[in-house]
Structure formats: structure tokens, C-alpha cells
Symmetry: D2
Subunit: 341 residues, 4 copies
């Protein structure tokens, strides 16, 4: 396998982003992209990237024997069905997060991929970020000793649209799920207990949707460490993505990235520009790396760096957080896992 032939299902924002990044990878041929409803603008865009076919029927991708792997970038409610069909068609799979809004269904998708012996990578792009990667490696080498406390701050610059919120699965499954994965990734330990507190402080529309916009989630890990995640749907100063790990031998913290490092001193004080605006700016390089690593896993027949199980575990934590908030109590992960079989 000298060059990978890919199909992309879904040409929304994230599907287009991955396509553009993959188009610059000399080991990749993007043969087909499918979208529910195509228009001339989409055709032009695909053309400019050298994508050969644009179709409204994703089966053209699944049935194409030239295609080695598919990217599932369609809406979340289609993910499970797509994974199962792609697996049955023998395609390797990259699927955006979350796998689904129901971890039991997600589990079935994992089974299908496993049975078909195809690779399945989940879109936790932050694992490919230069800062987080650097820290993960050093922690695994023991640089801060045993981990005692993990703190993750994750705040969006502005809330999404009402329509987006409605289909999102809620703050835990849509937004905090990245942080749940980061908690597992950086500690190398599984979460065993979740206690979530939530509030609607940003916009009452979240209440109307039965959702929250602000949260503090406490975690207990299998290795004994404690963790806490704080989320907000609106940070006026931009995307706020920071992590701190505290252990027996020290502490490491990762701060935000900035567009520039110029510092201005005036009679009003000292200032600098805000952090990078949102995920497209902050994780631009991580998205590129995510795709290149997926392609490399295929080319060299290696394990993917973010497995289907990673996707499932994060969904279980999200489920426990939801249950904790609803029932106002600490929830054990084992309670949810018991329902999986």
C-alpha cells in the first residue's frame, strides 16, 4: 500500500477541514466525497483540492473497492450506522467525536469494527496538539511523579446556535467529551467516579433545551488521583484551553496559544492580544497531524493513536456526568459499564 485512497462522508465544516489537510499529504488520494445535498460551490471546492468525485450517495464510497478508508464526518446521529456499514465493507474508519449520543450504540459500532478487523480512529484532535503531546510524554516518563490532581479548563468563546445545541447531546457529550478524553490521555488512568455540577449562567436558551452552559465536574481515577474540569460556553476573551497536572514531584501547566507574543506597555498598563479565537485556530496544526498520523497508521498497518475504545470511554464518563447532574449524586463508572453487556 503505497498511497492511501480515501472517501469522505460529509462535507460540512469538519469534513472540509480534513479534506484540505489531507489534500496536502502526498501519500493520499481523496477519491470521493459525499454530502446529503451537493451544489456547484461544493463541486468547485472539491475540484480545487483535486477530489475526483462528489456524490449525494455515500454508498458510492462504501461500494468502491479502490477506497481503503473512510472519514465519517456526517451528523452524529448517522455515525453508528456508517461505522457498521463501512466496517462490513472492509474500510478502515476515521470517525468524528462523539461516536453517538448513546454509549450502548457506540459499543455496537466498536464491535462491528473489531469483528471486521478494520482500524477505527476517533476524532479527539487535541491529543495531537504540540503542548498536550509534550506534557503527556513527560508525564509518562515520570517527570512529575505520581499524579495527584488534574485540572482542565475548557471554555468556548461563544455559545453555538439553538439548532446546534438541540442536536448536540448536551454540554457533556458535545464539549466536555474532549476534556474527558484529555483526562484519560494525560493521566494514563481510567476514570472510576464522576460528580458533576451544572448551571445556566450564559444564556437561558440552554435551560429551555434542558442543557447547561457552565459546569464543574469532579473525577476520581483508578490510580487514586482526583480531577476537576470546568466548562463554560462563553469566554469573551476567546477559546480557553488549559491543563494543569500536579504530582508528587512537581506540577506542569499548559496555557493558551496566542496569535503573537507582542507585549505592549502603555500608561494604561501592560497588555497583549487575546488567545487564539477558537478550535480551528488553536488546533490547526493538531488537525493536520491527526490526519497524517491516521494515514501513517494505515500505510504502516499500525494501531491508530485514538481507538474506538477511547471514544467509548469518554462517552461513558459523559453519561456518568449527566446521571450525576440529574440525580445530584456521585456516579460510579461501573454503574454504566454494567448496562453495556
Amino acid at each position: 500500500m503505497e498511497k492511501i485512497t480515501l472517501g469522505i462522508i460529509g462535507a460540512g465544516r469538519i469534513g472540509k477541514l480534513h479534506a484540505a489537510n489531507l489534500a496536502a499529504n502526498r501519500n493520499v488520494r481523496i477519491k470521493t466525497i459525499s454530502e446529503v445535498k451537493i451544489d456547484p460551490k461544493l463541486n468547485d471546492w472539491a475540484d480545487s483540492l483535486g477530489i475526483e468525485n462528489v456524490t449525494e450517495d455515500f454508498n458510492e464510497i462504501l461500494n468502491d473497492t479502490e477506497i481503503d478508508a473512510v472519514l465519517i464526518c456526517s451528523s452524529t446521529n448517522t455515525h453508528v450506522s456508517m461505522i457498521i456499514q463501512a466496517a462490513e465493507a472492509g474500510k478502515h474508519i476515521f470517525c468524528e467525536k462523539p461516536i453517538s449520543l448513546d454509549y450502548c450504540e457506540s459499543s455496537q459500532a466498536l464491535d462491528a469494527a473489531q469483528k471486521a478487523e478494520v482500524k477505527l480512529q476517533i476524532g479527539f484532535n487535541r491529543r495531537f496538539d504540540h503542548n498536550f503531546k509534550r506534557v503527556r510524554e513527560a508525564i509518562m516518563e515520570g517527570n512529575i511523579g505520581d499524579i495527584h490532581i488534574v485540572k482542565i479548563t475548557s471554555r468556548d468563546p461563544a455559545p453555538p446556535s439553538k439548532e446546534y445545541i438541540q442536536a448536540s447531546g448536551g454540554l457533556f457529550l458535545d464539549m466536555a467529551i474532549h476534556d474527558f478524553d484529555m483526562a484519560r490521555y494525560l493521566t494514563g488512568s481510567e476514570v472510576v467516579e464522576v460528580c458533576a455540577k451544572g448551571a445556566v449562567l450564559v444564556d437561558p436558551v440552554f435551560s429551555q433545551m434542558g442543557d447547561i452552559d457552565t459546569a464543574i465536574i469532579t473525577l476520581k481515577f483508578a490510580n487514586g488521583a482526583l480531577g476537576v474540569i470546568d466548562n463554560s460556553r462563553k469566554a469573551v476573551y476567546g477559546y480557553d484551553q488549559r491543563v494543569e497536572l500536579f504530582g508528587s514531584e512537581g506540577c506542569v501547566s499548559i496555557s493558551n496559544d496566542f496569535e503573537n507574543n507582542a507585549e505592549w506597555s502603555t500608561s494604561d498598563g501592560v497588555f497583549r492580544d487575546k488567545p487564539k479565537l477558537f478550535f480551528l485556530e488553536r488546533y490547526n496544526d493538531a488537525y493536520i497531524d491527526e490526519m497524517n498520523q491516521f494515514v501513517e497508521s494505515l500505510l504502516n498497518n499500525m494501531d491508530v493513536l485514538v481507538s474506538g475504545n477511547d471514544g467509548l470511554q469518554a462517552e461513558l464518563i459523559a453519561g456518568a456526568a449527566k446521571k450525576s447532574l440529574d440525580e445530584n449524586r456521585t456516579v460510579l463508572l461501573s454503574e454504566l459499564k454494567a448496562t453495556l453487556k
Copy 2:
């Protein structure tokens, strides 16, 4: 009242610290200091500061009509009794934190002070820190809009002795109590709900004492905000005291203070010295300011800046945290307040 005449009950570390700071205040005469067991070294020290009398009988202070106010720096289990006696003797009072290990008893001490119409200030020194004060003022002016999330990090450089731990009242009453006060001080809002998670990760001795050494405590405030405090008894890099407040219009964070700001770039990386070692170093100026403000309150007959009620409220939060940890559930402050009458 042109000059305040003071007595100090207790000549341990903190009593001596306050004495030295007060000795530099030209409006203060320290007439007497009492300690359970005095020795020549203590006499020499008192002499060097110009303290007139050293005694083993604190009643010499309480019965001295020249003495306007007393500092209670004796062991915690004597605080309530001392406050009540000092109040009855008509002395204004500065008492170290916590008032007691039992908020019902603390409440009685407050009643005694109120009945006697004497001032009662509690030793929450951090309120006088240059960083925290600057932030409190700006928050009260609305600089970050409505507060949504409060995060407090509070870690000691090294655990105290076994004896200290045993008498301390536990992590919540001994250590986190400062953070509970800071949470109230910075938000200007009361805590209504507490959920505490604890662990013994630093030293098994804490388990033996029925105590913990690591904690994450989630708070809900009357104004709707959420908060989280993380504590550890051992941060190898020194005293770690940071705060972050996040609101509708922005975010403010306070970092540690350092002995110097020199930054070294070498072939190994970029480094600087550790933060200030512990509370004596970090809050040196705050301790001075605390005493000067107490004296000023007396001189000008103004309200003290940290009231007896501030001491009581922090103890109630500590009590709720303990109950939350013991019963593994969220505890409402109202549950504890109901037991006060």
C-alpha cells in the same frame, strides 16, 4: 485613644510574628505577652521588641485595665474560652483562625463579643495580600461582569508534623478554611452548597489520623456561581496559592509571588527560581497590613475588615465539606445553619 495598648495571649510562631510586626507600629504599645511556659529566651525576645511584661498567666492581660485589646494566638482549643473572657473584660479581640473546631461553640464566642460590644477580628491574613486585594476591588467594580466560576488552588510545601495534624481539626478546618474565606471574599457571595472529594496521596499518616491530604471541593454560591478548590499538603516546588475568577465579561488570575524575577536561558531550557517558600514568605506584607488595619480599626473606632461572622461562615463551609466527604453527598449549608440555633 491616641495609642493602643495591647496584650498578646500565646507566644508561639504566629504570636511572635504579630508581636514583631506590631512593635514597628508607632501607634501601638505591647504591654504584656503570656505563654503557658516561659523561659529566658522568650524574655530576651520580648525585651528586644520593647514588650514590657512576660507572664504565664493570661489573666494578667485580661485584668489589666490599661490594655485595650488582646491578640488570641494560643492553641485553637482555647480560642472560644479566651474570646468569651476577653469580651467580658471589655477588650477588643483579634483571634487567629479557626475560632474553634466546632462552629456551634464559635457561634457562642461571637455572641459574647457582640453582647459585650467589643470588636472581634479573625486572622484571615490573605485578605490583606496585595494581589487578592487588587482583584477583590476590581471584581466588586464589575471588571469581569457576573461571576460564573471561581477556582482556588492552595497547596502547602510540606505536610505538618503528626502532632500538628492531630490537633488541627483536619484539612478542611486547618487549611482549606483560608480558601473558604477567600471564596466568600472574592465573590462577595455566600456559599450555599458543598461537595468534597478527598484522598490520601501524600502520606499514609493522614489516614491514620482520620484525615486527608488531598482534596477537591466544589461550591455553589448564592449568586448562582460555581466554585472549586483544590488542596494538597505537599507541593515540592513551594507554597502554591493561586486564584482564578471567570465571569461574563472576562477572567482574572492571580499567580504565585517569587523571591526574584530573574529568568535563565541555558542549553537545558529556560528556568527561574521557585515561588516563595511558605506563608511567612508569601504573606509577610499581608501579616503586617493585617495588624496595622486592626490597630487602625481600634484607633478610629471603625468596623474590622474580617468579622467574627466571616470566621463562622468559613467554619460552616468546612463543616459542610467534612459532612460531604463523610457521607459522600452534596451538603447544603442550610443543613448546618439549622443546627446553630
Copy 3:
């Protein structure tokens, strides 16, 4: 002109870098690259980037009527002749810095380009850096008022080889020339006076070559501002590229870029990784932007962002610095300009 067809003269490190960056630009066709001596490895590399021809005869490029523009990335001593021939062949030109080691010859190259009415851009890549660009824009808008002092720090991580030093034209023409350009770029003012101090502190080999490895160069600008540049051939902590501008209304400073922003606190102190290693790491994005802007200037028939005159002026300042060092006196730029006609 929908797509630009380019030829590249010189397939050394910088030629290859530009080629790779241009290969990702969808508006560019790289038709031919020439190198004095080609080998199979070079052919493979060119093939992988989709470069159509590899040749040992640069005339194949100059005589190719399909080629719109050339990149001159050959050794410095060939630049002037290449510019003149390319201009006569009607090609637009991008030429690496310096134009030559003799500003009189450089001036002749400029004349040739002007006479032929072809565009000529000089490779001052730092102008395209995100930090410097941000500052330049704000300064031009008056954010720090009138400029009083400019300070530029520019230090390489390690000295080049003996062979490189010998052909380099010396520290001023090889290294500081970027800083001379940056001084003009950030202030928007011409240098009128130069006073240079130099030393050999890094390696005696520089003495043997009649060169220096450490320098402090003071500048006076037409607008009255003062400036100072400090250079070293060896900073053990990596590439050190900083700028500070001080004016009537404030000060702005630009610091180094880092591979990651993780900060480690341990019992030894607080650490972070070193700055980015060297120019390829630090200015990676700037090199991409430089090429894209050059292509855009051609596509839209706009002025290039770094003109031949910018190249010449920096060489004049370098010449004045050399003269200042040699004669141990302040040198006026006008002294050198007088020799140009």
C-alpha cells in the same frame, strides 16, 4: 495570468525550502530547478514535489518562455549576474539576501531590474513573521507614539562552518543584515548614522577570517530615533530573535517563539523548554507566507512587499557598520551613498 510558472536557480537548503513551500501553493507550477551538480537524490526530491525538470544549466530556466518568474537561491556571488540576466530575459525575480557583498554591484542589479520593468523581491523573510508584522502595523498606527529607541537582539544558536564564514561577507552582511532591514521596517525610517563595536568571543576562527562573532551596533534614524542591535554567533539556548520599540506613548516587545508552552514546577525551580532552535523552526510560517505573497504580487500585478531598494539599503547599513568597525568611528550613511552614483 491564472497560475504562475516558476523556475528556481539553486537547490541548496533555502532553494529546497522555497520549493517545498511553493509546491503546496495551488497557484504555482514549478517547472524547472537548476543546480550546479545534480544527482539522483535531487531528482527524486524534485519528483516528489512535482517539479518537472531538473537541470545543471540555469539558462534552461532563463530561456524558457513559459517561465514567469525565477527564484535566485544560488550562492551570493552569483546573485548580481543572475538578476541582470533574469531581468533581461523579462522574468520577475525573487532573490535571497544579500543581493551581493558589494552595494555598488547590488545597485547595478537594481538598475537592471528597473530598466526591464520586472518585479524584484529580496528574501527578508522576517518581515512575514506573525509577531513582527503585528507590531509593525500597530506602530504605523501610532500605538506607541513617536519612536525614541529601537532595540534588536539577534543571536544564532551556533556558528556556521569555516567555509560558510569565509564566503559570508562577514557578520554584518550575512547576519546583521536581517536586523538592519528589521530596523527600517519597524520604524519606517531610514538609518543615517552607524557606529559598530565588535569582538571575537565565541571562536578564534572568526579572527582568522578577519570577521567578528559578537557585535553591538548603534544606529541613528532620520526621524531622530536611536537604535541598537546586538549580535552573537552562538546562543547556547537557541535562536534568539527579539525586538523592543520604545516611544513617547509606550513600549512594545516581541519575545521568542517556543515549541510548546508547558511550564514545569519542581523542587529545582520553574522550567520550560528552550525557544525554537533556529531560523527554519522560528520562521517556518514566515517563509511560507513570503512565497505566497510573492506569488500573489505576481498574480495581481502588485508591488512586492520587500523591494530591491530594501535590499540595497540594508547593504548600505552593513557597509557603514563595517567601515565604522574598521575605522573606529561613527559613519554617516551619506558617505556610502555618495559612492553609488
Copy 4:
């Protein structure tokens, strides 16, 4: 000598500052302070500090056999005469900088002190700053290897009054003199060569006085290192006092101190308050330390930490800078030293 008895000549701003700091030193008795013209307010102030006598005749101090040492805080033009008289009276001496505006006269003052075998300390307060001290010690231990480049930034928040400027001796003797001393102190090497560039960019009044308000001064040290100092009489963001030392094994930089470390992130960017306003705020602790160390030198009969020669050397560099500016050439320190004998 158990307690030092001091007299202070001059009760201006700096005389009062030293008096207040010394009043808190338990080893010091301030017996007398003299001022050209005394008023009731001065008497009250002296009284509040426990200073026993206030006089208009400094001879009361010089003739008082109880007085061990004098602080010379009178106007600069009286320093030399005061030093000589105090030395003849057998008093140890602390004298504010500069010793005089004429290094030949200063040299005579040094001779007098030496002949009388009294201690003479010069008021270079910055040597006692926590940041500079930390760096000096580490540099002396070789932490950055051999020093190659020294950079000192020293800018005042606002220009002094016209009267002050007139009597000041000019920017080099009044302001940069601290930086000349810092250059010697941090490198541990003597300056051998000076080249100064100056400008009037802040206020034309400096021109009228034959002075400058902006300067860049290049230094060459005996150990081969190069140095540069930049000065401005007006930095709108406050007192700007930074240092950078670059050597064969690394680089160290010292930044400004701030009143607080709160960092604000809002929709406009990231902010913090300005640096400390001016020397009284920035060097408050250094002034205290300076006095305590002077007293300790007397108590223990040790060498003072800033000698008369340190004062003289800084004046010689200032003189060379003035000559360099006036004659537009590099000046060797040896030229000035030759005139001393």
C-alpha cells in the same frame, strides 16, 4: 560598639527616606539631623521617628563625639566638602551618589576618607535589590559562563523639574551613573571604552540646559565583553529597570517588579497593571537593605559593600560618556584616568 549613633546631613526626600528606614533598625540611634532651613513640620517628623535633635548647623553633627557615622544627603555640590570634613572628624560616611560632578574632586574626597581611615559607602542602592543581587551571585559562580554582552535598560517615568535638571550634572552623571555602577557590579569587570549617542526626544527643555533626555551608551569591558545601556527620561508606563546578561553558557534577564501579578483577560485582550511607579516603590526594600548593611559594616568593622572607588569609577564612565557625546568619538577610560594624578 553595640549600637551605632548616626547623624544625617540633609533632610530632603532621600535623607528622610534613610532616616525612616534606620529608625526601624534596633541597632541604630539617630541622634541629629541637619537641614539648611528647619521648620515645625520637620521637627514633628523627626520627633515621630525618635530623632533627638534637629539643627540648621551640620557642624553640630561633625563636632559631636557621640556620633559614629554620618549620612551625607545634602545637595551634590556639598558632598566633597562634607566628606572631607566628616573624614577629618573621624566619622564613617555614607554619601549619596554622585560624589560630585567632577571626578577629580571626588578623587580628593576619597583620599581624605582613606587618610582618615574611615569607611565610605556610596548610595548605589540598586546593588541591594533582590533581583540584581540574585543575578550577580549566580554570574560570579559562572552560571552563564564568560560574559559576552551586557544590556541595561533604565528609563524614568517622567522628567524631573527644570531646576533639578540644571543642578543634576546631566543625564550621564545623574541617571546613567546607576547603570554604570550596575554594569561594573554585574560583570565584575572594569569599563575601558565608552561610546555615547544622545538625543532630545522627550522635552526641548533638555536642549536648553545643554542636556539630553535619551541615550544609548556602548561599553567595552576589560574582560572583552561588550555592553549597551539605553536611557530615557520618560517612560509613560512607569519606571523601567531591566538587565540582560548574555554569556558563553546562557543568558539571564531581570524584568520589572509589579505591584500585583493579577492578569485580566477580556474581550479587548490580556492585561496587567503597570510596573512599580518609580525608584521609591521599586527599590523600597533595597533602600532598607542598603542602610542595614551599612550599619552592619560599622558594627562588625567590615568593608562596606559599595566603596568610594565604586563611586569614582562610575563617575569616570559618566565623564567618558559626556566626552564621547561632545566629541562624537569613542573615548578610552584611560584618557580620563590620566588626568587624575
